[in-house]
Symmetry: C2
Subunit: 215 residues, 2 copies
């Protein structure tokens, strides 16, 4: 292993340890000394990679952003209608949050103690939901009289709640809970002919357990 | 004003200042010195009423519990069906959270840093939603095939999300947002004849702006 490979590996270990610490103790109470110790490196090695705790948090948040955006992007199969893409995206993001502590910690940090000046990950999700529902409206998938911005707010609130509750009890992140939610909401918003073709559990290529190319 | 009246008043000011500090800075970062200063009392006076920060937080949480439980209880008019009682309860609680910083801070503390050994306020709300939906099922208000526990989870998640989002932007606590949510969800769960009589904005005696007897 070259020196550079070792540095990349150490940095990766530090990001994972930091995510675990932020998830468990929150940003304020997480300790740099615990982060370096659980990554198996010296405090000096941590400071070689990161100037301070804020820099570590910013990196966790940025890594979460990269993986969650990629996950959302992969769920956007162009041959699918906007409602199926929305359903699939929610399952893809929940799956990533279930299996990836960096994504979970970064999402939480972005909400509670954001270290970037741009929109939070949470705000990006709001934009994504609103946009897909506006597309669903353009594609004439929605029941007559459905205000797509109102529906978007309800979906944003519910999915935020699932993420929030999942922090205490991971069952809320489960594909089952999310599928049940879509079964509940889709009949209120989709036209009958659209509804019949929709898969509330996500379409086959993106359901839980499927190996993501960026796994 | 007697000595005892003054003590009650001071204690009340301290609880309000503490709630503001916990809401703004979170439990860990809130400072007792700021709490006493903004209540206009000396640090000694604070310590006369509360042993430490944990005791202050426990009192804020307990006060929030009392007012939120009372609010929920008042919304339970026995002449209404279980779905209307659920809708009304959600509006009553959102109203209390909108106008009462102690309720907001206590709800947040109960979630993030609970100081009582019993169920959190959030868990009490989950129990309330589940129970009212089970009653709605017993009262044959729900569409055939509706699994009331699944619906309860979706409603718990969504309302948790509204509370969470409301911390950043109070518009999420608004009666309008909550009414829109019920308009979205009720047609998926209520039988048509039940649905026609339901008021998603809460029934007249308990809507936003109405003076609560404990307001």
């Amino acid at each position: 292993m070259t020196k550079q490979e070792r540095a990349v590996r150490t940095r990766h270990s530090l990001i994972c340890s930091a995510a675990e610490a932020f998830e468990r103790h929150g940003y304020v109470q997480a300790k740099l000394s615990d982060i370096s110790a659980s990554a198996g490196v010296s405090p000096g090695a941590l400071h070689f990679h990161f100037e301070n705790k804020a820099a570590v948090a910013a990196t966790v948040e940025a890594s979460a952003g990269v993986s969650l955006r990629r996950e959302a992007w992969l769920a956007q199969r162009p041959d699918m209608n906007a409602l199926q893409r929305l359903t699939n995206t929610s399952h893809a993001l929940a799956g990533r949050l279930r299996r990836d502590v960096v994504a979970r910690a970064g999402f939480k940090l972005s909400y509670e103690a954001p270290h970037s000046s741009g929109p939070t990950l949470h705000q990006e999700w709001q934009v994504c939901v609103r946009q897909l529902l506006a597309e669903a409206s353009d594609e004439a998938l929605l029941l007559e009289g459905t205000e797509h911005s109102v529906v978007a707010d309800g979906i944003v609130a519910a999915t935020t709640g699932f993420e929030m509750l999942g922090r205490e009890d991971p069952a809320w992140f489960s594909a089952t809970a999310l599928t049940a939610f879509w079964r509940l909401i889709l009949p209120s918003i989709a036209r009958p002919q659209t509804l019949r073709a929709l898969e509330p559990g996500g379409s086959p290529t993106r359901v839980e357990g499927h190996q993501s190319p960026i796994g």
